[in-house]
């Protein structure tokens, strides 16, 4: 059964371009051109045909998509990917902290959108899917169950803090995790401004896990926003 996607976007041309691209990938795409339209579709989806993922534009004719995100987060954890022309980093971070799964700045390539959608659907879309316990990307493997990290089939020793940081990224592999989320989850809510902790521990992790820490393949930086662990090769 194909995944149901709701695209909330007021630009007709972009809407139809995405419809073509997504339907080729086998997604069932519903579209809404306004907040009201989107609300109606989310509320009145027939039973068994609930929306699996929302692609949300921010500047809509009857309001800001941010409002819809807030409403949606109160009642469900349906994945939301924000697509917007706005480049303000502050807003990007706020949306991620408020529960958006990812953020794409227009213009974007379809490949990038599909990758982000895949990650978002895998993580939260279906409750029946098990949480990611084994992460593998190239030579890097993380086994959350046994707390083991291996690189090119050799064990890597991490300090507890390094491991906690890596494990937090694995939980959301493929998605950007903001500085604030990482700091709150690893160090505690009172440390959310101490981004330099992250710089230092991420540097240590890169030194241990990357072949060339200036050209990382796994631990990716989203400047000004947060970090992203590269999308896993496959789910074990």
């Amino acid at each position: 059964m194909s995944r149901r996607i709701l695209l909330v976007e007021d630009d007709r041309v972009l809407r139809s371009a995405l419809r073509e691209a997504l339907s080729i990938e086998g997604y069932a795409l519903g579209t809404a051109a306004s907040l009201a339209d989107a609300r109606a579709q989310l509320q009145h989806a027939p039973p068994g045909e609930a929306i699996d993922l929302v692609l949300l534009d921010l500047g809509l004719p009857d309001g800001d998509g941010q409002a819809l995100l807030a409403e949606l987060r109160r009642v469900s954890n349906t994945p939301v990917i924000v697509i917007s022309a706005r480049e303000a980093e502050g807003q990007k971070i706020r949306l991620l902290d408020e529960g958006a799964d990812d953020y794409l700045v227009k213009p974007f390539g379809i490949g990038e959108l599909l990758a982000r959608m895949r990650v978002a659907l895998r993580r939260r879309g279906r409750t029946s899917e098990p949480a990611l316990l084994h992460y593998r990307h190239g030579p890097l493997a993380v086994d959350l169950k046994n707390r083991r990290v291996r690189r090119a089939d050799a064990d890597v020793h991490l300090t507890p803090t390094e491991y906690a940081l890596l494990a937090r990224l694995v939980r959301q592999a493929g998605q950007v995790v903001t500085h604030r989320q990482l700091l709150a989850d690893v160090w505690g809510a009172e440390h959310t401004e101490q981004t330099h902790y992250l710089r230092l521990y991420m540097g240590q992790l890169r030194a241990k896990l990357e072949a060339d820490s200036a050209d990382p393949q796994h631990l990716l930086t989203e400047p000004g926003v947060g970090y992203r662990l590269a999308e896993p090769d496959a789910i074990d």
């Binding site: 502050g90 213009p107 507890p160 906690a164 690893v186 101490q194 330099h196 200036a214």
Partner: protein, 516 residues
């Protein structure tokens, strides 16, 4: 009694003492008429020093005393001979005439002094205003000058721009007028005519309001309190008005000059903006032409093409769209950095992370494999806006890839040089001619001056790129420099100060507890 009039009184007393002594001493040897001459002389001398009316009284007393002491019968006010009576009357009259003349002379001198002082004040005021760059700042000087001239409390209200009212916040107020006086000042500015005491308008007011008149406009008003009660109020008025008008025309001149300057700036800004818009449009047209051509070919001839042809056209569309996106980012960023209130979102950032993110973006492009990056180990954290610094490096890499041969490396190095972090992008392109080394950083200067300087197809692209890079470096109190390389090609060096916001925090605690 001040020292000056004291000295004068003493001098007069001295004259009288000497005069009387002479008269008493010479009484036996000279006849009465000669003694009377001595009296006239003494009286004339004392009139020079004594105040007018005192001098008249003193000479009258002196004539009586002369009668008592010298005119027979002595020690009585009666007079024997008619001619002696005539002599006394003549004495009295002559003394009074002298005193009267002296009084008049003194008044004339006084008036001349006043006029001279006013002229000096006007002249000095004119000099002050002529040298003033902002006459509005001289409102307090005007207030002082008016206060000196009248001795009354003064308030001055000056407009800061043409066409505004003094109750507007933009007006400059000197002195402390009450509400009613404030309204009076505003009214005076609005009408551009004097009002209040002695002006013919609202004559019943105790205070006078004088406009500061420029050519055809009124740019403020002065309030002189209690001018109605001032003894010389009437004569002072033209002088005060002259002071005010000088201020008014100086204000007018400076406001006109400011307006002209503003108009010139505006025109210049407009010209720059037009050039910018023209250049942007030109830069957008090139990728748009590629996209348009490829997309319309796919639309109209797609069915007759094989898969590889279609793929090539589509790749062209994607590549040119990315170019357009970069161009848009740069243009937006340039506009943002140009704003006076630009706010950087600074944080402690790691050069390694910024380089890593930039490298990853570059790698997505087909020619990205040519980029080689190296980051010095153990670099300190940098206080910067990571988005901006990575945009700077994106642009430099884009530039390096574009202007160097397709098989040459483009190097991105992050190193430390004393108190600076140096982010350098080097390429093996043709280099940049010395004449262009500064110009490349100007908005929309591209090295399209001649084929000898750039490859023929290299004129396309990031017209704003290097200008944005330099703006970003400077927003971080850093600098972006271009250094030619001895072996060919060029090296763009971005130097950012490491001591941006105090010592960077270097320690971080371990997490309180590992995740389950």
């Amino acid at each position: 009694m001040d020292t000056k009039s004291l000295t004068r009184t003493i001098l007069a007393l001295l004259a009288w003492t000497i005069g009387w002594a002479a008269m008493v001493g010479l009484e036996g040897r000279l006849d009465l008429a000669n003694l009377a001459m001595l009296l006239v002389l003494t009286s004339a001398l004392s009139a020079l020093w004594l105040p007018g009316w005192t001098s008249m009284v003193v000479s009258a007393v002196a004539v009586l005393a002369f009668n008592w002491f010298f005119v027979p019968p002595k020690f009585a006010f009666t007079v024997d001979l008619h001619q002696n009576a005539l002599l006394l009357v003549a004495l009295l009259l002559v003394n009074w005439i002298i005193a009267g003349l002296v009084i008049r002379q003194r008044r004339l001198a006084e008036a001349a002094r006043t006029v001279a002082a006013r002229e000096a004040r006007l002249r000095q005021w004119g000099d002050t205003l002529r040298d003033a760059s902002d006459p509005a700042a001289h409102a307090s000087a005007l207030s002082t000058a008016l206060q000196e001239a009248t001795g009354s409390v003064v308030a001055v209200s000056v407009l800061r721009a043409l066409g505004r009212q003094p109750d507007n916040a933009a007006a400059l107020q000197v002195g402390e007028p009450d509400n009613e006086q404030r309204v009076g000042l505003a009214l005076c500015v609005r009408d551009g005519r004097a009002m209040g005491a002695g002006s013919g308008r609202y004559d019943e007011l105790p205070d006078a309001y004088l406009p500061l008149r420029g050519r055809g406009v009124t740019l403020g008003a002065a309030l002189i309190t209690g001018l109605a009660r001032h003894p010389q109020g009437h004569e002072l008025r033209p002088h005060l008005q002259a002071l005010c008008d000088q201020m008014g025309s100086a204000l007018h001149r400076s406001l006109m000059a400011a307006q002209e300057q503003q108009a010139r700036d505006q025109a210049q800004l407009q010209a720059t903006r037009n050039a910018l818009l023209a250049a942007i449009s030109h830069d957008y047209r090139t990728p748009l032409a590629t996209i348009m051509g490829a997309a319309s070919a796919l639309q109209e001839q797609g069915e007759r093409m094989d898969g590889a042809q279609r793929q090539r056209l589509a790749a062209g569309i994607v590549e040119e769209s990315e170019r357009l996106a970069r161009l848009t980012d740069n243009t937006l960023q340039l506009a943002r950095l140009d704003a006076p209130t630009v706010q950087l979102r600074c944080d402690w950032e790691s050069a390694e992370e910024i380089v890593g993110a930039v490298l990853r973006r570059a790698r997505r492009r087909p020619e990205g494999a040519r980029v080689h990056a190296w980051v010095e180990p153990d670099l300190p954290l940098l206080w910067c806006d990571a988005m901006l610094v990575s945009q700077l490096l994106d642009n430099l890499l884009d530039n390096g890839l574009k202007y160097s041969p397709a098989d040459a490396l483009v190097e991105l190095h992050a190193t430390r040089d004393a108190e600076h972090l140096v982010l350098a992008v080097s390429d093996r392109g043709p280099g940049i001619a010395p004449a262009w080394r500064e110009k490349v950083f100007e908005v929309f200067q591209r090295g399209d001056a001649g084929p000898s300087e750039f490859p023929a197809d290299a004129g396309r692209g990031a017209g704003v790129g290097l200008a944005v890079c330099r703006a970003i470096a400077r927003a971080h109190q850093g600098e972006l420099l271009l250094r030619p390389r001895a072996e060919g090609g060029c090296r763009f060096e971005c130097r950012l100060p490491l001591s941006g916001e105090g010592p960077p925090p270097q320690s971080a605690p371990a997490a309180p507890e590992p995740l389950p």
